[in-house]
Amino acid sequence: MKKHWNHFWGIFFMFWPVVAILSCVVAPARKWWFPGVAMSPLGERIDDLFYLLLIIVTAVFIATQIAMGYVLWKGASRTSGTAWYTHGSHKLEVIWTIVPSGILLFMALYQLDVWAEFRVTSTFPAQARNQPLAEVTARQFEWRIRYPAPDRVFRGHDDIKRWLQQPEAGDLYTVNDFHIPTGRPVMFFLRSQDVQHAFFCPELRVKQDAVPGLVIPIWTEAIAGGDYSLLCAELCGWGHYKMKARLAAQPEAAFQKYLRDLQTSQNDDGYVPPSDSSEQE
């Protein structure tokens, strides 16, 4: 009877990893998975890395669970006699130190360049770096976007710095509606007006904190047009959950048209010039 219970527990511990793996297998079909494929080239590389890690991790998971299952089952059957008297094995310790460290070191070094491309400003695509698209300012609980005037051409680093420090007359403003062109890398500056926020666009696989007092450049590139989500990923107060905005990726022409329309509507002061005699009364 005791043996039966022992075997029950042996099976019990082997049962749940099977359920866990199965639930991961069915997850993409049930939409318990990424919100669609990555919509930016860097996002695609992040996804590739994720799947690479997932394969390694799953292999290790299965191997350790099988090893555990084996020792548990064997140990459950051994209800009499004595246990194996051993203090360990130097050879095994060496093997399971060196092999994992090789795998881990590979994982660490293999991923460095994606990180560098995402965050190290000097590796940003030059065209994006020289012509910043916008300045995104987070505040409780909304996103404020400032574009330079559509015809504004930046002449070097100092010019960009000046634009960041001093708003210009031709700047265009929107709130909670961030438009970007597709098909080319774009860079924008992230800042915060009050507390810490984080710019998170799950479809583009972009996340970056907006830190009070810092101006942080980030870049991305939308492969295809569409309305993506923009939300806050760093606790910023009671309304953290509702810092919801639209990130609309549009083809270049549509984007330029959007900027011009924005300019027109912003320059429109609502004053209709007098055109007929009724004004004169």
Binding site: K74, A108, Q140, D194, Q208, K242
Partner: protein, 617 residues
Amino acid sequence: MSTLNPPANAPLAHDDHAHGEHHELGFVRKYVFSTDHKIIGVQFLATTLLMFILGGALALGVRWQLAYPWSDMPIFGRLIFGAEGGQISPEFYTMLFTMHATVMIFLVIIPILAGAFGNFLIPLQIGADDMAFPTLNMLSYWFMWPAIGCFFFSFVSGGLTAGPGNGWTAYPVLSAIVSASPSSESAQTWWLIGLTFIGVSSMMGSINYMTTIINMRAPGMTLFRMPLTIWSMFITAILQAFALPVLTAAGFMLVADRMIGTCFFIPSGLVVNNADPTVGGGQPLLWQHLFWFYSHPAVYIMLLPAMGMVSDMMSCMSRKPIFGYKPMVYSLAAIAGLGFIVWGHHMFTSGMNPALGMTFMVATIMISLPSAIKTFNWIGTMWGGRLQFNTVMLNCIGFVSMFIVGGLSGVFMASVPTDIYFHDTYFIVAHFHYVLFGATLFGVFGAIHFWFPKMFGRMMSETVGKVHFFLTFVGFNCTFFPMHLLGIAGMPRRYADPYLHPYLEHLMPMNRFITLSAAVMGFAQLLLLGNFFYSMFRGKKVGRNPWKANGLEWSAPSPPGHGNFDFQPVCYRAPYEYSSPEAEALGQDFIMQVDPPPEMPDESPPDESPPDEKTDT
């Protein structure tokens, strides 16, 4: 059986003194303001178990909101938020998860490991009569109460609907400027003061543990004969002592920012909640560095002691020496050492210098190496063992099993590129619950069942223990495994209503399933509590060594009297000599650390007066 081995059914001697100093203590000095490490340990244990229920209730509040957002909370809704019609307000939601983390980390896990088990086990396992500084030890417990008071006051000062709502990480500027989170107001300050008291309590404990372990070991108890529990407590105490001052200093700086107008963490020119622009010149990232410089080692403070205790219990329940004792010690030390240089992995998306991201990533990934070595050694320990599938062992296997998942899911966050996506999603919530609950708390549940007979001289119910384990394990996995999927689906943490965002709408059924599982798991803890308090008075009485274990603590009476040992313990061998030829020769599968080797009976002083006779004098 050796003559030295005290008989398993030795009479329970509550007042046996090792020193012969007979002074009767009053009730207050004996059980309330006690300087006896065992009483203090039990005080810590009882307090933390009650806090555990409170923290769990807060978690269920969080889960209610995620499953049924903005709907009336059953029973508690009317009581607490009558004004809002029984709904959880967004402010209250931020407070719920803040206080859940605060209670669980600072009032449950850290004190239950170091405070309860550290206090109870260290002198017993190294053969000392008490801690090095008994009064300091008493203070370390009683300093927890002002902390609890401050946390509780921060809870209720705003009339139960507002409180510290800035997360347990309390990132400035949100936590530094009062107008940034109006509902927190003075509560956040009280919270920070409570944190400081907890720090003082931990610091007193850690100084005591280090001193005791270094100075008060019994004759023959060399460093490499110490049980792994002691090694882990020792290393944890060192971590605590070096990391904690940083948090304390940071806490005072934040209080100063809030109360006296300094600007350590506040940059200039911020317009918070339409208040006047700030004038500071501070840097919010400074807090994150200081905070995580403590709080990352704290992750190991919350894990290493459980690792040590599980090693002890697993070796005993496999009737087999621990596999690779020295690699286990070295990997503990390696985790602790590397633990000091990985704090930046909490800040990959924070905007710190990207070069730091790279170094922290390499260090973080490499810290999984010692953890992997430990896991392999635990599996090695069970390999070829005669496993005893009792509550203790089940919880230990649960520990290893869950620790593997927690370790592996950590890889995704340790890697900066994937962390860009997973940072602050439910993936991280799943990960740290697998480590802190799945690993640490299963270890603690095992330890409670294992050392309970030593604490009270009675056994806990095995059947109830197994049912508790079964429900907790199933409930735990049903609660936290799906959170990985929520994280992959991009659900951010700390959202009062994720379904506001269209791409998360379809996750509500899964969240309801999680909430249901969490409720099952939560209510299952009442079994543990019931079993604990019932067995304290009604459990089956046992002798000194009910588990046939080897450690020094099992040669003392159960419960040990004042001064612990009724004889001078001498340690003759390594801690895990189960099924050794030496033991076989005695016709048993264990040989205690205090049993003298048969070939040298004359040289051992205790042999002249066996302990069971000495108690009679």
